[in-house]
């Protein structure tokens, strides 16, 4: 039997039907900007306690240090975020080549592909902390949550992992991952929380 036309087998964004590019809330200069991130690759890496070689493998393969605490290491193409004891989230900005990368990691850790399990977005802007404070039970002050810090927690009853990627000209930049199935509820909360500051929305 002939295989089906490839045209059917196109992936669908976790944000499809949920987020549309544009603007929400009050008029004026945007206080917050949200950018959905599609096509990222994610995988959990878990090693037995005390296992040493994942760190060197990570350095070798993607040039990043394996964070020992609740931090994220970032390059322009990849990142690795601490996600629990002996547990990391490896990610790539593009899914192309990610499966092969995971294959090479599988000698050093238990690897579980989670590329489709998370809906990701970047949020930034001068008022972004005020928006996140409506859900985050963790302190986002610069002195406590510096660039590179990450946390697993929940926003408005939705489990999230997020990190502070960088500081831009308009204030801090965060990346947030939410369970794919809850992207809609997360967005409902985020949009309601950001509207009073004017939120610009871009789709990846």
């Amino acid at each position: 039997m002939a295989e089906q036309a490839k045209s059917i087998w196109r992936p669908r964004s976790a944000w499809a039907g949920i987020v549309e590019a544009g603007q929400i809330g009050v008029d004026g200069k945007p206080g917050v900007t949200a950018l959905t991130l599609d096509d990222m690759g994610f995988a959990t890496l878990i090693v037995p306690p005390g296992s040493p070689d994942l760190a060197s493998a990570t350095k070798r393969m993607i040039g990043l240090d394996l964070p020992k605490k609740a931090f994220v290491s970032l390059s322009s193409t990849h990142g690795v975020a601490w996600a629990g004891a002996n547990h990391w989230l490896l990610f790539a900005r593009q899914q192309a080549g990610f499966v092969d990368l995971l294959q090479s990691f599988s000698d050093h850790a238990a690897v579980s592909d989670q590329s489709h399990a998370r809906a990701a977005l970047t949020v930034s802007g001068p008022r972004v902390r005020e928006v996140l404070a409506k859900g985050a039970m963790v302190d986002l002050h610069s002195s406590v949550f510096p660039v590179g810090a990450t946390a697993l927690t929940s926003f408005a009853h939705v489990h999230v992992q997020f990190w502070r990627t960088d500081d831009g000209p308009d204030g801090p930049i965060f990346e947030i991952l939410v369970p794919r199935s809850m992207a809609g509820s997360f967005w409902s909360w985020f949009a309601a929380s950001a509207a009073e500051f004017n939120c610009r929305i871009d789709r990846d």
Binding site: D139, A156, V158, R180, F186, W189
Partner: protein, 994 residues
């Protein structure tokens, strides 16, 4: 603009350039920005604000703050109506509309004020002693009457149209209250660089300084205030939160607060919340909430025109309102004399000063002379006169001589009570301080310090000193270097002499202790007489302190009178516990965003949009929305739809989303050993590429969950759980690994979200899959038999997993693809299945087929059933230990007559069955003693053409063929059923292997 007759020509912190018009009880008035509703009404000469709870007595303003017991109004109208709103804290806004409450037909003429005629019988606790006969009259007659008469304002009848926020904030030092102590503390802490939050419930910062004519460093206090506010604003780590009440103190430095973001406008601007509930996490906190002035209990003390002396000063000095032109001041301390001064300076005449103390110092005497007031030393006010407004008072002097004095204002001063409420939210007991005759904070919760009046140090000098010291100390304690301390500013001279009067006995008129709940001194005496002497008994028996003001102005007098009754000192009688919230908090602010559809997150399968396109009806399953069935135009009802779906699946092929099942990736050299310990059955022998059904128990021996687990590699398994239990199972497995057996080499992670999964079931399912699975994979019956599990590809290389497992009893597969391809998978399967009439089916269709096959789900394994009850007892291995093994062996759980799972069919096949029916032997009475079990699940089987059911029946498996009644009294049903095997369809399982 209408003339505000009681407004002073100048002064006050109101903006006279911004006139605001508003309505009270349908009448229009004008006020100014900076007014409260109370001050604006007072400026317009309104004296009567409300009616009391029980006797419906006319009431006016007692206070100018959150302690107000009398002036409660319904604010706004329609869906935004807010009952019981204290007029003293409502910031005036343009077109404000307020209505008096708890009166009919009008505030001026209230029919229920006739209660006064029955008042002699309506004493504390009267209802416990009567209304007992006849018993049924309580609900029918007495209670409805009481309920209608009781209550205060009317809640809105329709949904609150406003939005609420909830937010979290962290700080080093939280300062509660922005009076002189709080501001000093905030600046002292803030200068060191600490993150400081200063909250005040008022819309203007300054606390008592706003109400008093004081000097700091030789200049008006307003100058000091302006300077310190400017400095606070300049400190980048200081956050100033006006209109924010810190209402509760919770464990580990967590403070609840509510910010009234938009209560000072008619309608919140678009996208803005009405209020915001805050959870404040503070390393240190300083309570600088000030103090509340206490009234005196004397006959007629509730008449409109009787006002706290500090409130009089607030109206005069802050709001530029003269609460009366001819005043009498009744004081037990120096506080009243400040009121004499301020009233006089504002242009009122003080007719008399009644000081309960017999010794009056010479300066005071001079002042009395200067203002032209009669001075009554060692005297009390023993009665008030007038109708709905004060006209005169009777003063009784030390010799017992009485004088009647005309006045329209009686200012009462009896000292202050520290606003220490938050210090007792963690069970801290206030302690009695003899020198100030008041309770002060006792043992403090960790991290909290108390400054100024809130600690019972009432002078301005002490407030400034306390604040500066505690602010600095708090910053140092959390690791900041102390900022250089400015010298504490000097204040003008102040005295706080006091000899409080708890009660004045008089000949006539009620003397109120609790104004809002209409508790009198006589009620306290009665409680004492009847043995309700413990303070908590007093409170509960008389309702003292249980009104919306929580006894802020009444508790202490109640205690004092009780102490007098039982012949003890106040410190021996103790005080009641202050419970959160400090002031009432809108329920909406504590719920925030989480209402309506946002009450809890909803989880949508990656195939959700596809299901919606197919016209699915959805149903809640835990957090998930799942497709229940897929109606087609022209179908008569849901049953017709489900019958079509089931028949199409059994005869051809059906398609059902099963993405919501929990999926756990388990890797490690001990993975198989681990499964042996958490499942009842064996796992070590499972070959790679095979799936097996497993059952797990709780440690108490009852079934926890079930599902199939597949071995993907020597040390790699994929477990599936039920949709509902996915998180619970993950937590359980983590417990087993981390707590019980950390020595096992094991790595687990949930991959539930990663995979979209679909069941393709029916005799043509293989043909459909053949067209979807990439050609290189052999999925023939031989190469991929029943219970095979493998990693494959679809769509030309997309990684996927295929499992030959079946819940429907058909030849069936479950195909899993990365969730982003879930939508594509459904379209691909539909396209591939089109020649075979592939039919989407939902949970209901699945349910019919699983009942036909006798598979148990959550309604059967409901936490009260064992594996044995479910007919799975033989799965329990005796060769190994596993969770729940021993407790499942308890005598009652292995009793032969325990209800066990069997099938049921109606004897008359026209009858329908109902889940929830109980089984009663034929001819036996429908009562508990004859109850032999119950029906758990039912379905109409379109294959058998009658209803079928599963249920638990005592000795069930031994009673096949027996008849019994399924009784269902709540639905008036009684159906004779025959006990049968739970497997109704294809008992040999030949279709599975097809």
């Amino acid at each position: 603009m209408r003339k505000q007759l009681h407004r002073l020509n100048s002064g006050g912190l109101i903006d006279r350039t911004q006139a605001l018009c508003f309505r009270f009880d349908g009448k229009n008035y004008d006020g100014f920005a900076g007014d409260t509703l109370a001050s604006a009404l007072l400026a317009n000469g309104v004296r009567l604000f409300g009616r009391s709870f029980k006797y419906h007595r006319p009431r006016g303003l007692l206070s100018a703050g959150p302690e107000e017991p009398n002036a409660l109004v319904e604010l706004r109208t329609g869906a935004r109506r807010e009952p019981n709103t204290r007029a003293t804290v409502v910031e005036l806004f343009q077109n404000l509309e307020a209505t008096s409450q708890n009166r009919w037909p009008s505030l001026g003429f209230d029919v229920l004020s006739l209660n006064r005629l029955a008042a002699p019988a309506l004493v504390a606790g009267f209802y416990y002693k009567t209304f007992m006969w006849p018993a049924r009259f309580w609900e029918k007659l007495y209670e409805p009457l009481i309920r209608r008469a009781a209550g205060l304002g009317r809640a809105a009848a329709v949904e609150d149209p406003d939005h609420y926020d909830k937010a979290f904030v962290f700080c080093d030092v939280l300062v509660i209250g922005a009076g002189p102590a709080g501001l000093s503390a905030a600046v002292a802490a803030g200068r060191s660089g600490a993150r400081v939050i200063i909250c005040d419930e008022d819309f203007r910062l300054g606390g008592r300084l706003l109400a008093e004519r004081r000097q700091i460093d030789g200049r008006p206090a307003a100058d000091w205030l302006a300077a310190i506010l400017a400095e606070l604003a300049s400190l980048s780590e200081v956050r100033i939160m006006p209109r924010t009440s810190v209402f509760g103190l919770y464990d580990h430095g967590i403070y609840g607060a509510v910010e009234r973001v938009n209560d000072h406008v008619a309608v919140p601007p678009a996208h803005q919340p009405r209020q915001r509930g805050w959870r404040i996490y503070a390393k240190r906190a300083i309570l600088a909430a000030g103090a509340l002035e206490r009234p005196i209990v004397f006959p007629g003390n509730d008449r409109p025109g009787v006002m706290l002396s500090g409130a009089v000063r607030a109206y005069v000095n802050r709001f530029g309102v003269l609460p009366g032109r001819e005043a009498v001041v009744f004081t037990a301390g120096d506080g009243g004399w400040a009121t004499v001064r301020d009233l006089t300076e504002a242009g009122a005449h003080v007719a008399a000063i009644v000081d309960a103390r017999s010794e009056i110092n010479p300066e005071s005497k001079t002042m009395a002379l200067r203002v032209g007031a009669r001075l009554f030393a060692g005297s009390v006010v023993e009665a008030t006169h007038g109708g709905q407004a004060l006209r005169s008072v009777t003063v009784r002097d030390a010799s017992g001589k009485r004088a009647r004095l005309a006045c329209d204002l009686l200012a009462v001063s009896n000292g202050w009570n520290p606003t220490l409420h938050l210090t007792s939210h963690q069970n801290g007991k206030p302690v009695w301080e003899e020198t100030i005759q008041s309770f002060v904070p006792g043992r403090l919760p960790p991290g909290l310090a108390v400054a100024g009046s809130a600690a019972g140090r009432f002078t301005l000098a002490e407030a400034l000193r306390d604040g500066a010291r505690l602010g600095r100390e708090a910053a140092v304690e959390v690791g900041f270097a102390a900022a250089a301390a400015d010298p504490v500013p000097a204040t003008d001279a102040e005295t706080d002499g006091l000899a409080p009067v708890w009660r004045v006995r008089g000949n006539r008129g009620k003397a109120f202790v609790d104004l809002q709940n209409d508790v009198t001194d006589k009620d306290v005496e009665l409680a004492a007489r009847e043995g309700f002497r413990s303070i908590e008994h007093l409170k509960r028996y008389t309702t003292l302190g249980m009104a919306t003001d929580q006894g802020k102005t009444s508790n202490l007098a109640g205690l004092a009178i009780m102490a007098e009754q039982v012949g003890k000192a106040i410190c021996e009688t103790g005080t009641t516990t202050f419970r959160p919230p400090y002031t009432p908090v809108a329920i909406g602010a504590l719920a925030g965003h989480h209402r309506g559809k946002d009450f809890r997150p909803v989880r949508l399968a990656p195939t959700h949009d596809w299901s919606r396109e197919q016209g699915a009806v959805f149903v809640e399953t835990g957090q998930w929305l799942r497709a229940q069935y897929y109606p087609k135009p022209g179908e008569q009802d849901w049953l017709a739809t489900i019958n079509r779906e089931v028949l199409a699946t059994r005869s051809g092929v059906g398609l059902c989303d099963v993405s919501t099942l929990g999926k756990i990736d388990i890797q490690g050299s001990d993975a198989a050993e681990f499964l042996e310990r958490v499942y009842i059955n064996g796992w070590k022998t499972l070959p790679i590429g095979k799936a097996r059904y497993g059952v797990m128990l709780r440690e108490d021996g009852f079934v926890m969950d079930d599902g199939t687990t597949s071995r993907l590699g020597e040390n790699h398994f994929l477990m599936t759980t039920t949709t509902i239990n996915a998180a619970k199972v993950m937590q359980h497995l983590e417990f087993c690994h981390q707590v019980l057996w950390p020595e096992l080499d094991l790595r687990m992670v949930s991959v539930s979200e990663q995979w979209a999964q679909a069941a393709v079931a029916g005799p043509r399912s293989r043909e459909v899959l053949r067209r979807v699975v990439d050609a290189k994979h052999d999925i023939s019956n031989e190469a991929f038999p029943y219970l095979a599990a493998g990693e494959i590809t679809v769509g030309g290389g997309i990684p996927a997993r295929l499992f030959r497992i079946s819940f429907s009893g058909e030849l069936a597969y479950e195909l899993a693809v990365p969730a982003g391809y879930g939508d594509a998978m459904m379209h691909a399967l539909m396209a591939a299945g089109e020649p075979y009439g592939i039919t989407p089916y939902g949970l209901d269709g699945l349910n019919v087929m699983r009942i036909e096959k006798g598979h148990a789900i959550g309604t059967e394994s409901n936490g009260q059933t064992t594996a044995r009850d479910l007919g799975l007892g033989r799965m329990m291995s005796s060769k190994k230990d596993f969770i729940g093994r021993l407790m499942a062996k308890r005598e009652a759980l292995v009793q032969a007559d325990r209800p066990s799972l069997v099938g049921f069919r109606p004897v008359d096949t026209n009858n329908r069955l109902w889940a929830g029916a109980h089984f009663i032997g034929i001819g036996r009475a429908a009562k508990t003693e004859n109850d032999e079990g119950y029906m758990t699940s039912v379905a109409y089987s379109p294959n058998l053409k009658h209803w079928i059911g599963l249920g638990f029946l005592k000795n069930g498996p031994t009673r096949i063929g027996e008849r019994i009644q399924a009784v269902d009294p709540v639905r008036n049903g009684e159906v004779e059923v025959e006990v049968c095997s739970p497997i109704f369809f294809d008992p040999e399982g030949t279709r599975l292997h097809g």
